[in-house]
């Protein structure tokens, strides 16, 4: 068994007779700030998992070492990486899929004893006892993908929509309800709606900007323009400065262009 920098290196075999296999680097997951979803002592960390490996297949493989609670992927090790990996993928009616590339995996076992067993595995075998691959690739995959994910069956989709919308309406109503009651929350903040006596203005970038503009406009109208001699002189000066600035800027551009040798016509 090869070990490298504290990682156990095992081959990942898609078929029993596979010769050139990817190497997966395993070790127990341990970092100072533990993620509650990846509990200490029960999580196995895998590096260099090929893109086509799925959560289910890993669950099956590591099921041989003990009961697996969860398998999660991420693009690289790190705090928010898992969330980023799965962002937008669980939602219904969305075409977002997790990226297809090399990744890391976290395998959470039910018992911490399973870790040792898992680390003792000689290889990660992605096939069942009869030698069939656990992964779907090729024609079968594309067919299933088309049938299952691309095409939507109308009446099923309709039911799904109405179910989802019912849930959504409920949530909306609850939120509206909460806005009306006007009670302070634990931190002492009160949620205010657009309506009612105590309505605040909408906290949108566009609204804020409009207000800012209004303030600036008010400010401006109070000023006298081009009135004092020094103002006029300043404005002239300003003009020169701007022309000069532009000239300098263009000169710099030319320098840049010069470097790319664009002045030889032939």
């Amino acid at each position: 068994m090869v070990e490298l920098e504290g990682y156990v290196v095992v081959p990942l075999r898609p078929t029993p007779q596979a010769k050139h296999c990817h190497s997966v680097y395993m070790r127990e997951h341990f970092i100072r700030l533990m993620d509650p979803n990846k509990p200490k002592g029960r999580t196995l960390f895998l590096l260099n998992v090929p893109p086509y490996v799925t959560e289910d297949s890993l669950k099956t493989v590591f099921g041989r070492a003990g009961i697996v609670e969860a398998v999660e992927f991420a693009a690289k090790p790190g705090k928010e990486e898992t969330i980023k990996w799965y962002e937008g993928t669980g939602e219904p009616f969305s075409n977002t899929r997790p990226p297809f590339k090399f990744k890391v995996a976290y395998i959470v076992f039910q018992k911490s004893s399973s870790i040792g067993k898992a680390l003792a595995l000689k290889s990660i075998d992605l096939f069942n006892s009869s030698g069939e691959c656990l992964l779907q690739t090729g024609m079968q995959l594309w067919h299933d993908e088309y049938e299952g994910n691309y095409l939507l069956e109308a009446h099923k989709a309709k039911i799904q929509v109405s179910k989802y919308m019912a849930g959504y309406d409920k949530r909306e109503r609850a939120a509206a309800e909460a806005a009306k009651t006007g009670e302070a929350d634990a931190d002492g903040w009160v949620t205010v709606g657009k309506e009612g006596r105590n309505a605040g203005f909408e906290q949108k970038a566009s609204v804020v900007e409009r207000l800012e503009q209004k303030v600036a406009r008010d400010h401006k109208s109070k000023e006298l323009k081009n009135f004092y001699t020094f103002q006029i002189r300043e404005s002239k000066m300003q003009n020169i400065v701007e022309m000069r600035k532009k000239f300098e800027e263009d000169k710099r551009k030319i320098e840049l262009l010069k470097q790319s040798r664009r002045f030889k016509p032939f």
Binding site: K19, A157, E172, K204, E223, K236, M237, Q238, I240, P265
Partner: protein
Amino acid sequence: MMLKAKRKPGKSDRIPKKTSKKADRADSQEDSSAVDHLHLEQSTPSSDDGFDEPEPTPAKKNPIQVTTKPKNNKFKQKNETKNVKPPTLEEMKELRDTQNLFHSNLFKLQVKEMLEELQLKTKYMEFIDSWLESFTVFTQQLKDGLMERTNLEVPLNLQQKPSGFVFSKPTKEPYLIGAAATGTLLGPKIVVDVALEMPKESLHKEDYLNLRYDQKRALYLTYVTERMQESPNYANDQFKFNYLANNPLKPVLELTPVAKQVTKHLQVRLFITAPLSSFKPGRFVPWNNNIRPSFYGDEWDEEEPLPSTQHYNANVLFDLTLAENQAHLEKAFKGRRNFQDGLLLLKVWLRQRELCIGYSGFGSHILAAYIVYLNSQRILHQSSSSYQVARTVWNQLANTDWTKGISLAPASIQTEELTKLASHYDVCFMDFTGQLNFCANVPLSLYQRVREEAKLAVDLLNDMKLNSFPLIFMQKCPLYSRVDNILKITNYSCVNQMLMLHSQPKFKYDYAKYGYPQLLQLLTELLKKGLAERVQSIIPLETATTAWLVENKAPSIGKYIQLGLILQPDHAYEVLNKGPATNEDPEGAAEFRRFWGERSNLRRFQDGSITEAVVWGTAQDSPAKKRQIVRQIVLHLLEHHLQLEGKDVQFIGAELDQVYRLSPWFKVNKLKTKLILDQDTDAEALSPHVIRCYDELARQLHGLNGLPLEIVSISGTSPIFRYCEPQPVLPQARVAGKHILASHVQRVVIQLGQSGKWPNELTALRALKTAFLIEIGEKLEAQCRLQWVMSAEGLLVLKQGFCFLIELAHSKELALLKQEVTERGVTTYVDNPASRTLERHHYILPKVSGALHSLHQSLSAFGPTVMLAKRWLATQLLDDGLWPEMATELLVAHLFQQRNAPQAIAAPQTGFIRFLQLLAHSDFTGELFLLNFNNSWQEQQVADLEHSYRSDRQSYPPLALATSYDIQHAGRLWTSDQSPSQRVLGHVTRLARHGLQIIETSLMSKDLRFVRPAQLFRGSNEGYDLVIQLKPDLVPNSLSYDLGSPFVSFSQPNFHLPPAGADRMARIVGQLRSAYSDFAAFFYNPHGGKELAIVWRPPTDFAPKPFKVTELQACSPCENGKVQVLKETLLEDFKMLLKDFYLRISTPEELKREQREHQQPKRYFNAKQPQEKSSLKPKKQKIQKDAEQEAPPKKKRLIKSSALKALN
């Protein structure tokens, strides 16, 4: 919207104030410094002097900012003062000049840079001076004497050999002429023209007649050359003769001096001239005859006046007046840097347009004389800047007409009436002596062309939204790429036959039997009459003659002609030529019949008139067929009038257009459809069917009853709706079970009427959208009997054999995607990749699509050009993932905006050649392609964009495109860093250069035929490391005309219909790219390619590297605790992902060998064995490859292969 900040209402009010102030400060850093300056300078009395009245607009804006915070000054004084020193008067003047004269400093500075670049090095100047000095000494040592037999050939190709010739030594010193005299020599090959005057004594009184002068001139040149060769001074130099401006009567000596450092770039040309007083004045006026018919053995009716030989006369006059003209020019240019620079600019402009080449060329000496003319007319001032000189010349060129004649000679000298002189020539510009017409040989069409180019230059300069510098000076615009069709006659016997039988004798005398201008005259006259308003102009395409060694015989030239036709797109493809009505104008009708011969028939038209007419096709013909009409006409005319058969001439018009035709393998008659389809139809002719079907669908959608919200807008976004789909789309889509099968899916975006009830959550919104689309589908089925299937992307609808994908756009979806909440709890809307994609698909693409559609409506060559371009890119194995299709369309649209040429492109083939030029010569890092549809970008916006583009180039993708519909995403919407990547861009540039080179050589060569489509539209098989062959029956062929894959020979095509919207190849390759692009690049032909070509990254990427957790992708451990990526493992991955699809993996070399041995490609059922072998073979191959890469690359390789190697 909820908010959580109620307790401190004042706070939010204050925040904006603060930020606005901050912004102000940032804006007006310069202002405050200006104030500082003022404070500092107030003590000095001169502080106000330099300031003139400011321009009104900035004055209004600025002082406010200045006055808002005078307090800040104290703090800023120290670091900002250096920026504002008081301007000197000179600086003021310069600043103001640039502002007023040029639109931007940029243009001025660029011109300045270029002029500096063009400036001749002093070593050349010194060399020229010393050379001339020594040559003067040499000529003085020449002795008079009888010229005996020389061992040199007299550089003149005439039947009559002269008898004796007495050389008399020159009495006048040789002098510089042309560019060398005016100080406007132009690299890279510097040609110094030197004139040597024959003394009067060498010439007899009678020498004006029958080319005797020209013979003496040639003999004189030969004699001087021979003496020069004998002289030790010139012993090592290279002596060659050449014809000046392809004129066989004007041999010159081309001498390449062997001297250190100058020999590569410098050449001296020796002219022989004669003094003006050699002949009686008025001997060479245009209406005199100086070559008698009897000279050519012809008979001439004595009572008829002798035919005038104005062109020959001008040729002689050119020599005679040279000294005087030169003196005037020199006087005007000497010491005037501004005029010299102005002329240099004009020369660069002219040479880039190739208008100055050959016998009929518009030489740059004409421009030099014109500058002097404008100066004498007080249109150009002595002190005008170089830019003003160039600009004024363009302006005057564009707006004056020389056909009536203009003259440099003062009224006292100009004895003959200008109009009388002008009547003998197409274009008339008399010289200082009032005798020579500078433009004697310039045909009218070429002069018009120069005028149009000049007009374009002025327009470009006036366009404030444009950096016109590269367009005017930098861009190469070879003449052949500015014409739509080319007629090439190279067959020697045909040319002779035309000259013998059809050229009028008076032209023979006029041009001294030189064939080229006679042919030009003959053909232009005929074609102009025949093509009439179909053609805008017919311009000669000449190539300069090559020099020959002095010992060799002078070549005979002019037995070959190439004409470029610029078509008038509105009329060129009309199917009918209508003659005069028979009953009203019987003579005209007879003439018409004579002219058109058998093709002319008497026809009765709907308006009741009965006239002679020629019909070239029917109104229902496909556009491609109509484009053949001009060819038909030209060939018919040549045959009818000149007895030239089609095989004797080459008409280059639409050779490449076949690549978007329907594949001949697909039999249209097996298709069940109501449409009437031809077997030889093409993508262009099929597009309207789809569009018509879509229009009907749109009507049905609008008419749907009982929808909760009505459909307010429907727009098609697929390329076919703007005639840009190069693959023919036939009505073959059908329903099978619960699927729709279709090879193409046309995307349609609909928008619904306003409603406030849409949910505020993304998923809920999408759920509702799905429900809505299903509702539409059900209604369509119930009310219009259309079949539909719901998919994740939208609603698939089948109509008349075409499949449409209806998507629902909703602005709230976009808003929700963009929505972000800042830390302060303010909701902002920020663009992100997902929102950008959605906005592009649902909002911007429909608008751009509409704009491109209308572009095609006005310029019908746009669509087919895009088709050619797309087909070309596809056959070079570049798919949408590597090079976005929209980029192609927008680049072609950029070409069709009237910026690049004075006239619209009428032939797709020309458009395609220009597209290749654009790819080959564009500076992608420096240029942003802006498509200002409807001119909606404002000047300031364009300037800002340019500024941001230049200063922040890194943040833009390698190829930046912007349209007027994506101002807020400018440059980043259509392309990204990955597509096309820098590498692919470089690759495409090299491919385009290679393609252009093939085209150019075939066009410029006398013997070659024009390129065959297969030469351009089949990729190279070199440079790829591996080829994965896919099972041919699993990948359907495209319907477009296939010229073969670069790797394997033709196999039986299959036209299976895939499930609609599956687009399997694109998805598979997309997957491979997303996972393995760090290790390899993948190429395939999106138009039905059945091979996947792979190029590995350079070997350094596969070298062992230290263990790093973040860089461990695909690595296996190797020795010393290092890790390494193994290609074998990756290959196993590819095989696994392509399971069921792939046939085998091999190297291109193996495939090639197999092709040579005519082996049947192995079928997948017996492919098991080779598979295993091939998995081993690549390793060997790789070792070889690595070795090869270390060795210096072989030069003989095709450009393409080296191009691909550079991809690594």
